[in-house]
């Protein structure tokens, strides 16, 4: 448990975020975690160097709304969560369609716990790099 956190749901997320925007909070970032059957996203906000965190846990097949309507800067973080974790997010202000950080040749959704990564990269012709 981290300091100063509140629990939100996909249904209440946008209203809570809008209230923070109107309260002068700055979006710091969001942290996504793979919890097995669920995702957990922590949204981190700051005002005068005091953090406020929103914690949201939801099943992996649930689509969550974007917060980029309130915080435009969230578009980078939400695209990253979509690509690296496979989180379904609707309404991102600038949607890169899965091509922000990863490409077709790289691992898809690499941050999922089910995706195992070894320390040696295999080259396309089967040798080691």
């Amino acid at each position: 448990m981290i300091d100063n956190e509140r629990t939100v749901t996909p249904e209440t997320l946008q209203d809570e975020v809008k209230a923070l925007f109107q309260g002068g909070y700055r979006l710091v970032t969001a942290t996504c975690k793979d919890q097995g059957d669920d995702f957990e996203i922590l949204y981190h906000f700051d005002r005068d160097l005091t953090l406020l965190n929103l914690r949201m846990t939801f099943p992996k097949d649930v689509e969550i709304p974007s917060i980029s309507g309130s915080y435009l800067a969230a578009f980078l973080i939400e695209n990253e969560m979509k690509e690296l974790f496979g989180v379904k997010i609707s309404g991102i202000a600038v949607d890169y369609g899965g091509k922000l950080l990863v490409t077709e040749e790289t691992l898809q959704t690499p941050m999922l716990k089910s995706v195992e990564v070894t320390s040696v990269a295999a080259s396309p012709d089967g040798g080691e790099e």
Binding site: R26, V28, L49, L76
Partner: protein, 381 residues
């Protein structure tokens, strides 16, 4: 009706130290809109952070970026120490300040040189980088490496700085200040610099907060926020205020960085003045912190004895040269972390380009982009 053209700026461009592509939509010479595209140097650091053990991760995170290297390690170590309740010795806290501020000085001098290079002021660029070499020599003398100093470890620092080297740092900073005064007079008075930077890439204070800008990018727009005010390491004992300018343009961001170099020199002096004798790592019995295959025994440098593994979650923030760096760390009582999340300052500052670039001339795009001091190896991890 003007015809719109799409011009790709990057990923390779003389003014960009690292790759990013900005797709610029132009009407004649004016930028109408911009779409940033990153991903050219994504290395999967957060995934690697779950595979390595907690001590190996110090080596991992300090290689996220060569310029902010020490502050990445510091942010990570501060987080692990907080979860595990490790008390860092006082001397180590001050040494952490010394290395952090030396990094800030060399990063800002690097940037000021690149700014001069961006509009063709080559002699100023070379002069600034010549002064920067004095700081690189200090880093090499105190740690053995110019960039990735590898002195921060969980529990303290790996090396001490002796009295002779501390005197050397002070005399180097004295010489650096003399050189800096000459550079500052050019930056404040030169017609070319002022013409190219004043009124270019303006962002208001409200826009800076709404877009989540941090560091000199935000402080150049009047946002008086500096993560050092949180009091990590020994900053709580030092006297300083955030350096702020209010014009919100590229010139303001340059002046903030220039003034922060002077501030960092003062902070190093304060830290050295307050250094007391003592251990530099918690409970300092030497242990191996690297893999079995490492050749040779640990040197006489002190390494930390840290018992156990982190169990819990923590947020750690430090002020890197480019702004607030944010680490979220979650441990589960094993030697591997459950989650390592890194948000670097450039990641927060990229969205400001969506506001500062539209409306500017194509010729101003390099200056405005450079004004956020972009570091894409940090951004993409």
């Amino acid at each position: 009706m003007s015809r719109q053209t799409v011009v790709p700026f990057g990923p390779q461009h003389p003014v960009l130290p690292e790759p990013v592509q900005l797709k610029l939509v132009l009407e004649d010479e004016k930028v109408v809109s911009v779409l940033p595209a990153i991903g050219y140097c994504h290395r999967g650091v957060e995934k690697a952070g779950e595979i390595n053990d907690i001590h190996q991760n110090v080596f991992l995170v300090e290689r996220i970026c060569g310029i902010c290297s020490f502050t990445h390690a510091l942010c990570y170590c501060e987080g692990i120490e907080k979860i595990m309740g490790i008390e860092v010795p006082t001397r180590a806290k001050y040494l952490r300040v010394v290395w952090s501020e030396l990094h800030r000085i060399h990063s800002h001098l690097l940037w000021l040189g690149l700014l001069a290079d961006a509009f063709g002021f080559e002699s100023l660029f070379m002069q600034i980088w010549r002064y920067r070499e004095m700081v690189m020599d200090v880093l090499e003398k105190t740690s053995g490496h110019r960039f990735i100093v590898s002195t921060c470890i969980v529990g303290g620092v790996r090396r001490d700085i002796g009295d002779e080297d501390l005197d050397g740092i002070l005399s180097t900073l004295k010489e650096l200040e003399k050189g800096l005064d000459k550079v500052a007079s050019v930056i404040y008075k030169d017609y070319t610099i002022r013409k190219r930077c004043i009124g270019v890439g303006v962002m208001s204070k409200e826009q800076a907060i709404q877009l989540g800008a941090v560091g000199p990018t935000a402080r150049g727009s009047g946002v008086a926020q500096d993560a050092r005010m949180l009091g990590y390491a020994a900053y709580a004992d030092l006297k300083f205020e955030p350096v702020v300018e209010t014009a919100g343009d590229s010139y303001a961001r340059a002046v903030v960085r220039l003034r922060e170099v002077y501030q960092s020199i003062d902070l190093v002096r304060q830290a050295i003045d307050r250094l007391t004798a003592g251990e530099v790592a918690a409970d300092g019995a030497p242990v191996r912190v690297w893999r079995e295959s490492t050749a040779g025994a640990p040197s006489s440098d002190i390494v930390a004895k840290v018992r156990g593994f982190p169990n819990g979650e923590v947020i750690s923030r430090v002020e890197q040269p480019r702004g607030e760096c944010f680490y979220y760390i979650k441990g589960n009582g094993t030697k591997n972390l459950e989650r390592l999340r890194v948000r670097t300052p450039t990641y927060a500052n990229i969205p400001t380009l969506l506001v500062t670039l539209p409306g500017c001339n194509l010729a101003d795009v390099p200056i405005i982009t450079l004004a956020i001091d972009p570091c894409f190896s940090c951004t993409e991890r």
